[in-house]
Symmetry: C2
Subunit: 402 residues, 2 copies
């Protein structure tokens, strides 16, 4: 795999889109029309596809031929109005998409069918500070085990969408400074993973995959402009704009964790001062609370203590929530999303975290924007990123996976 093969739209993440108006862009968009027509309308003849898409029968037959070669569709002879015709159907040939989420301390792998049914899923712990090679080995092993358990041959795997907790420079395919996994910085992750797993690989930032999961697997499929904010050891956002994942110029978007909240605050791992992460990440919350106990605290303890009504924990969450609210107010002022979804390891806090976030939003946003922006918790919990990874694979045009 090269960086080239991995796209900036919901349908083709981490791959430079074909130049608008070019022949290949036209072909890509025509192919998408046909896939959509088949997904909504079921099997149909080439003539029906032409009618439904407005494409010429020559164009349809040309594209169907390519999709048939790559296994995306199956064609079979039929008759239509007494004439011989070719019926086209999307394949459900037992193929499987893989989603992999690699965090600082965890690994999750999901298997999903073309109908978006989850066929297998497992999460395991990883030791903090693991190297890219160790994370990759663990992912490969877990994938093999899940496939074996489900009796799915490796040849049925379409590809894997992999979420990484760090910014990825699309120009070089490498994780750049600022990643939660500093051991991974500088590694050409697309190449490394592609070689090791031996299947088509798509790499993306974990918050991007979380955002994609909200509009694919989550209850928000009709939302055109959605911001997914992942609050964990780091804070990052994935942006769904006009219905598609947004990648910007070099692929580093949604770096919400590095918005300056306190100009003279703590030094951040990004090299700046007083970034949102230094005020509101789970690491910051833990280091604030650690002074109150001898037992080493972890992120789940924040949730446990808060639900138990521990006042120090509630105060730390309130302060963090207000800061997150201020940051998302600036996002809302700029991007005017319909919905902001919070994800990460604190989703079980519910209103305990949502309330201060909403207060911060209303306090810092332009009134109309504050009032028209909904903030809620993600319903997919810690599964979001891995599910988003599988969604990336399932949304690829057949020419990429073929």
């Amino acid at each position: 795999m090269s960086v080239e093969s991995a796209a900036p739209s919901r349908s083709n993440p981490r791959r430079a889109p074909a130049k608008p108006g070019s022949q290949s862009a036209l072909r890509q968009s025509n192919e998408q029309r046909i896939v959509q027509a088949l997904a909504t309308g079921g099997p149909q003849t080439q003539a029906e596809l032409a009618r439904q898409t407005g494409l010429s029968t020559a164009t349809v037959s040309n594209i169907v031929r390519g999709m048939s070669r790559s296994g995306t569709v199956t064609t079979s002879p039929t008759t239509s109005s007494g004439r011989r015709a070719l019926s086209v159907a999307l394949n459900d040939d037992g193929s499987v998409a893989v989603g992999i989420d690699i965090g600082r301390r965890h690994l999750r792998v999901v298997l999903a069918g073309p109908d978006y049914r989850v066929l297998g899923e497992e999460a395991i712990a990883l030791k903090a500070g693991h190297t890219a090679a160790e994370g990759l080995d663990a992912a490969a092993e877990l994938l093999d085990r899940l496939l074996a358990e489900q009796g799915i041959p490796r040849s049925s795997v379409l590809g894997a969408g992999i979420g990484i907790p760090g910014p990825i420079d699309r120009r070089s395919g490498t994780v750049v400074q600022g990643a939660i996994l500093p051991e991974w910085v500088g590694i050409n992750i697309l190449e490394t993973f592609g070689k090791r797993l031996g299947i088509p690989v798509f790499i993306d930032n974990d918050a991007n995959l979380g955002a994609l999961a909200q509009v694919t697997w989550g209850p928000h499929s009709s939302v055109e402009n959605l911001i997914f904010v992942k609050v964990g050891s780091g804070i990052g956002a994935g942006l769904i704009l006009n219905g598609s994942l947004y990648y910007g110029n070099v692929g580093i978007t949604g770096e919400l964790g590095h918005m300056t909240i306190n100009e003279h605050g703590l030094i951040c791992r990004c090299g700046n001062r007083g970034c949102l992460e230094t005020v509101a990440s789970t690491s910051t919350m833990i280091s604030l609370l650690q002074r109150t106990t001898d037992r080493p605290l972890m992120a789940p303890d924040i949730v446990r203590l808060a639900l138990r009504g521990d006042t120090a924990t509630l105060r730390v969450i309130d302060d963090a929530g207000l800061a997150i609210g201020r940051a998302v107010a600036h996002v809302a002022n700029l991007i005017n999303p319909e919905l902001i979804v919070l994800g990460g390891s604190l989703t079980d806090l519910g209103d305990i975290l949502l309330d201060p976030v909403r207060r911060g939003l209303l306090r810092h946003a332009v009134p109309v924007v504050g009032e028209s922006t909904t903030v809620c918790m993600g319903s997919l919990g810690e599964r979001a990123e891995a599910l988003g990874g599988a969604a990336v694979v399932l949304s690829q045009p057949s020419s990429i996976l073929g």
Copy 2:
């Protein structure tokens, strides 16, 4: 005109786009393909258009018939390979697009042909605090005069794109609180202007039109992700994302002027505290400098004094520039644009303003983002917004203007 008729894409601003995948969306995109083919390839037969676009000849002929009825194209009989055919050409029938920019103290009207040639242009002063009716009267008069001077009949006017210095709620078509023209708040501007001018009217925020001008008339037509920041009595941004103007959920985007810079700073007209506008707008600069002189200062004085080397003015600009840089750093961290263009009344300052903005950007952005984001002055000066207005009209599908 209703709000309905005024779209969120470069080709159809301030109008809700047809639902993706719907029949009308399909027709809209097919029509755009044909217009593009004619604009790049010149007059051609329907068969050639079908070949170039991949559309069926039936679809092409159907769409061409509609475009011919609305006057977008002219068809004429011809022969191709010895057979009778229909040649299709984009019309240049002397039609004219109008761009109108209404500011707190100025009004500018431009006339442009379908080939984007400026046919007439004039700017006049308006008194501060003018009402919507007064601004509108002045615009109507100036438009009539320019048309008369150029000998252009009113019937040749395709429509007017009008820039307003305030956020516009697309749900109601009204200017909302936070506008630089408080006298305009609550007015259904689309309806009012449409009735008074008697031509199709498209209303947009001035910074949005400034952004559109950069990628249409300016030197940045190839830039896919561009932020245009207008620095004047207010500060607002227009966002070109993935090649199109971005409108978000209710149309209120780019409210950069209301990013919190100093949490305990001055009260802003939006009701918050310490917003960027309270630190870096020309009004703020003027009120800071006014203490040094008895003569009333205006925005052009800032430029004049700075170019003359006045140290107080240079300091005020440096502080404002750093704050603007901090705000655009947060935009860049989030949206990762290729280019940030500064516009408004201070563009003649050049590096005097650009330098602190760049310093603020590098100081507050994630390193890779800061280093890969270019900041420059807009080359269209105070003409940008009106030119953007004309661009809005010229980019409408014929069905809207017809």
